[in-house]
């Protein structure tokens, strides 16, 4: 309170110190610090509780695929398969969602009539507000049944690509189904972010390219996309962060198996988040502690992705 920052131009006049001011400023600052403490606490408690099982683990935590932790003697578990599944599911979702999201954002900003565009903005926000468990229910109760024939023909015509090799799972509870639902869930995030940057493209840039005789697509390619690229990348990475940590859609749809497999049309693979949700109710022995160490890995992955996204977005703000 007593320090005067030389960078602030208007120096605060030294007035009477009031109790109310001190209390209010103190509690405001206190809750700010509390947030930092909570975040530090999240990291500290996860590390503290995972230590227990990690030191008892008889296998290499990072290279083992099996999860044999619900015991008191010689637990052997690792996150290799889980981490692979997490990244595979999120990356597939991102590949599906990003082009469509950019398309929707372009539609809302440059193609749709003005009135329709504002309604569509609401609809996108609404999609983001639907709880993930409802997406999961929709996925398992409706979508997987519709996808069955699609998968069969995908395997029939594209089966020579190793990823789409058969035999196709008969239930449709595959990695690809989970990824499609994840894609639907991150679509609004990427769309909202891209839409925001597209709206900020200077009108002069767009009019200049149109005045030079550019078609609408040429205007978008030459004026809008270069300006909006950091926003698209930042939005995609935020979406990736969400997809990495998403639990319910995967836990409800995928029929899990602790393997490392690229075959997205067969049942198998598992993500960290879904594994924790499914295993936790039955965890005994070192089980809970082992799940916490898996959560720590997930926390680290999402932290890196999110900080990268924020960095890209913040840098754009500085230059814009």
């Amino acid at each position: 309170m007593t320090t005067t920052d030389p960078s602030t131009t208007a120096r605060e006049p030294q007035g009477k110190r009031r109790l109310g001011d001190l209390l209010f400023a103190g509690s405001a600052k206190g809750s700010g610090i509390l947030i930092l403490l909570i975040l530090a606490g999240v990291a500290a408690f996860l590390i503290g509780q995972s230590f227990d099982s990690l030191s008892a683990n008889t296998a290499n935590f990072f290279t083992t695929k099996e999860w044999d932790a619900n015991t008191r003697d010689a637990p052997a578990f690792g996150v290799a398969a889980l981490a692979f599944g997490t990244v595979l599911a999120a990356a597939t979702a991102l590949v599906i969602a990003t082009p469509i999201a950019v398309g929707i954002a372009l539609f809302i900003v440059y193609y749709a009539p003005r009135r329709l565009a504002s309604i569509l903005g609401y609809v996108v926000d609404l999609l983001a507000a639907i709880p993930s468990v409802v997406y999961g229910l929709w996925g398992i109760g409706w979508l997987v049944k519709q996808l069955g024939p699609f998968y069969t023909s995908l395997e029939q015509y594209l089966g020579w690509i190793p990823m789409f090799a058969g035999p196709v799972s008969t239930t449709g509870r595959t990695m690809l189904s989970a990824s499609i639902v994840l894609a639907v869930m991150i679509l609004p995030i990427i769309t909202a972010m891209s839409r925001d940057v597209f709206q900020q493209v200077p009108q002069a840039h767009r009019e200049a390219s149109l005045a030079l005789g550019a078609t609408r697509w040429e205007m978008i390619r030459m004026a809008v996309i270069p300006f909006g690229r950091p926003g698209i990348i930042g939005g995609a990475m935020l979406g990736l962060g969400r997809a990495l940590g998403e639990t319910m859609a995967v836990a409800m749809i995928l029929s899990p198996q602790l393997v490392i497999s690229w075959m997205v049309l067969q049942s198998g693979n598992q993500t960290i988040a879904a594994h924790i949700a499914l295993q936790y109710p039955e965890a005994t022995g070192y089980g809970v502690s082992a799940l916490i160490s898996a959560g720590l890995v997930l926390f680290a992955i999402t932290l890196v992705v999110n900080m990268g996204a924020r960095f890209i977005v913040a840098r754009r703000k500085e230059f814009a």
């Binding site: 400023a25 610090i33 408690f45 078609t215």
Partner: protein, 364 residues
């Protein structure tokens, strides 16, 4: 359908003599070309699919869009030029993207509505699952509604003061390193996976109360970890919108800073703050994963006590019913999903209404 910008339909003239035989408007498809071609390709798609006996909505839509994209590109290439053809192709793709994105939204709302209405009635909303054996055609979500209200309520009571005070600190008081650190870590906190928030409370509870202790308060704390950053973000944005002139006028009248914040800044921004808080509530009310870990997933009886025993909530109810997997379980899950979506949408639209009708007029 759309009409592309007509003025740019010709090629850019070079320095040499202009292609005199071309007027500005020749060499462009007539306005009715796009809808006419679309209708034609739709008819073609229906015909071909009928001939092969494979007529379904999905196949029809995909076939039509692809056929239309090909036909319009070729037509534009022949009549207009390559650049116009590309533009028309991209226009088709962008419209298709939009149409594709509407599929999940419409189908999700439609399935939840049609499947959920079958079971969602007063009985379902007012009884719990206590004493309901798996095969019984009975039971409801009252205990889950109770849990959702109690847990989300406590989460709101924890998060709103902390979030609001932090945003006040960031906007009115903060400076230097601490402000930067808080801004940055609030952003980081927004990205914490919900299951990790749940694990955090599990670890915390294990340290304090020993293993295996689940209750509603634990769930509320996990939800707070997810809710606080959202509240901070939205309140901060709203406080920044309050014009500085209002603060300066208040200081000029000799009002202390804290009273200026409480009596001038907050009332001006209250509509936006309310909206932000409601949207944050709408987000955490559907959170499932942290509650499975902290409040338990097997409670069947009504429990108002946040500090003792497992507590069911609407999202966890949906999840645990799906895990059981019988037909009756799915019926219950759909009905509960409908109830949950109605609550979320109510919060969502109320928030929009508040921000529209109670926002102060800052235009002058």
């Amino acid at each position: 359908m759309t009409t592309t910008t007509k003025g740019s339909a010709t090629e850019m003239p070079g320095d040499g003599p202009p292609p005199s035989q071309k007027s500005l408007l020749t060499g462009s498809l007539p306005r009715y070309a796009a809808p006419a071609l679309l209708a034609a390709t739709a008819a073609l798609a229906a015909g071909v699919l009928l001939a092969f006996g494979a007529l379904g909505i999905a196949q029809f839509a995909v076939f039509t869009v692809i056929a239309y994209a090909v036909v319009i590109s070729i037509a534009s290439r022949v009549v207009e030029n390559r650049r116009q053809a590309t533009d028309r192709l991209v226009t088709t793709i962008v419209y298709a993207c939009f149409g594709l994105a509407m599929v999940p939204l419409v189908s999700l709302l439609w399935t939840v509505l049609s499947e959920g209405l079958a079971r969602l009635d007063l009985y379902f909303l007012t009884v719990s699952m206590n004493g309901v054996t798996p095969s019984m055609d009975a039971g409801g979500v009252y205990h889950a509604i109770v849990g959702t209200i109690a847990i989300t309520g406590l989460a709101a009571v924890i998060s709103i003061p902390i979030g609001l005070l932090t945003s006040i600190y960031l906007v009115e008081y903060g400076q230097g390193r601490l402000k930067q650190a808080i801004t940055f870590f609030v952003d980081v906190m927004t990205g914490i996976p919900s299951i990790v928030a749940g694990l955090f409370v599990v670890a915390l509870w294990m340290m304090i109360f020993g293993p295996g202790k689940t209750n509603g308060a634990a769930g509320a704390i996990a939800l707070s970890v997810l809710m606080i950053p959202v509240v901070v973000r939205s309140c901060e944005e709203m406080l920044r919108l309050v014009p500085n002139e209002l603060r300066e006028a208040s200081y000029a009248l000799g009002v202390p800073k804290w009273l200026t914040v409480v009596k001038v800044v907050l009332p001006t921004a209250i509509a936006g703050i309310t909206t932000g808080v409601m949207l944050a509530l709408a987000r955490v009310i559907g959170e499932t994963a942290p509650l499975i870990l902290t409040a338990g997933s097997s409670a069947v009886a009504i429990n108002w006590n946040l500090f003792n025993g497992q507590m069911m909530s609407l999202p966890v109810f949906i999840y645990s019913q799906v895990r059981m997997g019988g037909a009756i379980n799915y019926e219950r899950a759909w009905a509960a999903a409908l109830a949950l979506i109605v609550v979320v949408m109510l919060l969502f639209f109320l928030a929009r209404l508040v921000s529209r009708f109670f926002a102060p007029n800052l235009s002058r």
